[in-house]
Amino acid sequence: MTQLPLAKALNAGLRRAMEDDPKVLLMGEDIGRLGGVFRVTDGLLATFGENRVLDTPLAESGIVGTAIGLAIRGYRPVCEIQFDGFIWPGFDQITSHLAKLTNRLEGRERFPIVIRVPYGGHIGSIEHHSESPETYFAHTPGLRVVTPSTPNDGYWMIQQAIRSDDPVIFFEPKSRYWPKGEVDLETPSVGLHVSRVVRTGSDATLIGYGPMVSVLLAAAEIAAGEGRNLEVVDLRSLSPIDWDPVVASVEKTGRAVVAHEAPGFLGMGAEIAAGISERAFYSLEAPVLRVAGFDAPYPPAKLEKLYLPDADRVLDAVDRTLAY
């Protein structure tokens, strides 16, 4: 066991994946000499050289499109998109080609590409630096979408994503890059597409992922002080969704609140709410409630606290579900 922040755990995971497989290479803007704007790739250029760590021209479609060509050639590229809001120039290559090439080629070739995306708010930044675009990718057949919430998950999930023979969109909660957590460098974490109960309780189930998990845990802690015993599920994988732990929890508690930073309309919460109602209708004591970012563009940073769901807003939803 060692104490690492998520950014360094990801760095260690990338380093290990590159040691394990010479076909793994990193590409992105400022990832080499600078080590990435969040330093996630810090030191990897020095270790592995510029044939394994490519500082690319500043063009996201170019990064993803050439990664596809490198995958055809047998490489396992890991692309860094510098910020969530800058992924859109690469969206066509991701959705029209990366997601569909396995299908187009009827399984004859593999496209083991990981696209790392720092995402979410809480960093007080300017426009395009705080978005949560996960739904667009989870909605696209052919992609896998995951997001770690802890340093330990970051260390193991990045390696699992790189080993996957399918393309993986890997969302990294940038608000969680720097708090330290325990990382077990020896014993692998659970599988890439496994959701997990991270706090047990019996009165209601809180469901979230990535940056929201720590908010849900904080909310559960406050609720415990008020005599309410809340269970928290970390989805970890947004596509596919591992339903069993979610359904088992809701069958136990009868109540569910799902939370994310992304806008609520047609967000992951909508899919979770629908999935629970289809699978656990007779266990529900109340409708599944959503706590989400507003359906407005991400605001200027001075308003982001108002925009982002916090523990109080989660607890407000808990009050409402318990009042049914």
Binding site: L25, G62, V64, G65, G69, I72, R144, P240, D242
Partner: protein
């Protein structure tokens, strides 16, 4: 003004060898082509046209959803693909039927795609690393560039042109306006990839003339990206062959990427879904029809005393290929229903598995209720 003509041309419309000044560096390569190879080129071109005409007819008769004709672009396609070496990878757009035939693709596999039976069509590994058609304009230029980056990462140049690999990527004048194409130029120049960008300027992007895509001759754009750009008469198969071969060999030898602009013309429609009479003049069409690349090469071969029996044999083979295609198309089966789910992912995926199981049960339930 012939002395200032920037276009590489070796044979004129009349079939007579009359090289432009720009052709000078490529004449030796063209001269090395013996009569047998030239007859081979004509054979490829005539066969390509026969497939193209037959496929367009099949579409008109309701057997295909769509067809994108290659009619008129045969010299550009055959000259360039015959210049590629066996070890080279080729990334097409979606009109490169001649290139497909050269790399051993059965025309029925192209037609299966246009019939709605498959999105892919053929296995690149079994067809000279001829990649699948790409319908999003310009996308394949980036895939080609990434692949070429991989060649360079794999191993240094050996110096043996029979071994060193290069990449040939096709796109059209419309694609030059796309961001992806320009990003591919940037990446290729930056990483000095072993590749040739082969631009077939057929003058029309559906209904929009090339003058809307560019105010400057397209080959001139290359210099802004830091690579050589060569304009070639795309209806002159000798010139296309010589220029493409030279630039591919430069690329494989480590001298970086290059752009070729082949001036040609889409005699047919963009696809069977459009009507070219709405946007272009009869005069323009007649002018280019008179410059037919097949006629030009045939005239040249006639001047070299190739006998009529050779042309008759080629035409007879072409007719056989066309009827063979028709016969095969009519026998194409619909894809198995499992294709819907089978290759969405390589690794198990619970949602796909659940939906597949649901569909099976749902369809089985029809039988039970009756």
């Amino acid at each position: 003004m012939a002395s200032t003509d920037p276009t590489v041309r070796i044979i004129g419309d009349d079939g007579v060898i009359a090289p432009t000044e720009a052709a000078e560096p490529y004449l030796e390569r063209a001269a090395a082509l013996d009569e047998e190879r030239l007859v081979g080129f004509l054979t490829d071109m005539v066969h390509t046209r026969a497939v193209d005409v037959e496929a367009a007819n099949l579409q008109r008769q309701g057997h295909l959803a769509l067809w994108a004709p290659s009619y008129g672009q045969e010299a550009a396609q055959i000259g360039s693909s015959r210049a590629a070496r066996a070890q080279d990878a080729i990334f097409p757009a979606y009109r490169e039927h001649g290139v497909a035939l050269v790399r051993g693709v059965d025309p029925v596999d192209i037609v299966r795609m246009m019939r709605g039976v498959t999105h892919g069509g053929w296995d690149p590994a079994a067809h000279g690393n001829f990649r699948p058609y790409t319908l999003v304009i310009g996308s394949q230029t980036l895939h080609a560039t990434g692949y070429a980056m991989g060649i360079r990462l794999d191993a240094p140049v050996s110096g043996d042109p029979e071994r060193d690999e290069a990449v040939l990527v096709y796109f059209g004048d419309g694609a030059t306006a796309q961001g992806d194409t320009n990003e591919a130029f940037v990446f290729a120049a930056s990483y000095q990839t072993p590749q040739v960008f082969f631009l077939q300027n057929n003058h029309w992007a559906i209904s929009v003339p090339v003058t809307r895509q560019s105010r400057t001759p397209l080959y001139k754009r290359a210099s802004g990206f830091g690579m050589p750009g060569v304009q070639v008469d795309g209806n002159d198969v000798l010139a296309v062959f010589a220029v493409t071969g030279a630039l591919l060999d430069d690329a494989r030898a480590g001298r970086g990427p290059a752009l070729i602009e082949a001036l040609t013309y889409r005699i047919g429609a963009h696809t069977t879904a459009d009507d070219p009479t709405k946007y272009r003049t009869d005069e323009e069409l007649a002018e280019w029809t008179a410059r037919d690349p097949l006629l030009r090469l045939r005239r040249h071969l006639e001047q070299r005393s190739v006998g009529a029996e050779v042309f008759e044999r080629i035409d007879a083979e072409a007719a056989d290929i066309a009827s063979d295609l028709r016969r095969k198309v009519l026998a194409v089966q619909d894809p198995p229903r499992s294709l819907l789910f089978e290759h969405v992912y390589h690794e198990p995926h619970p949602l796909i598995a659940a939906e597949q199981a649901w569909l099976t049960d749902y369809e089985a339930s029809y039988g039970e209720s009756s």
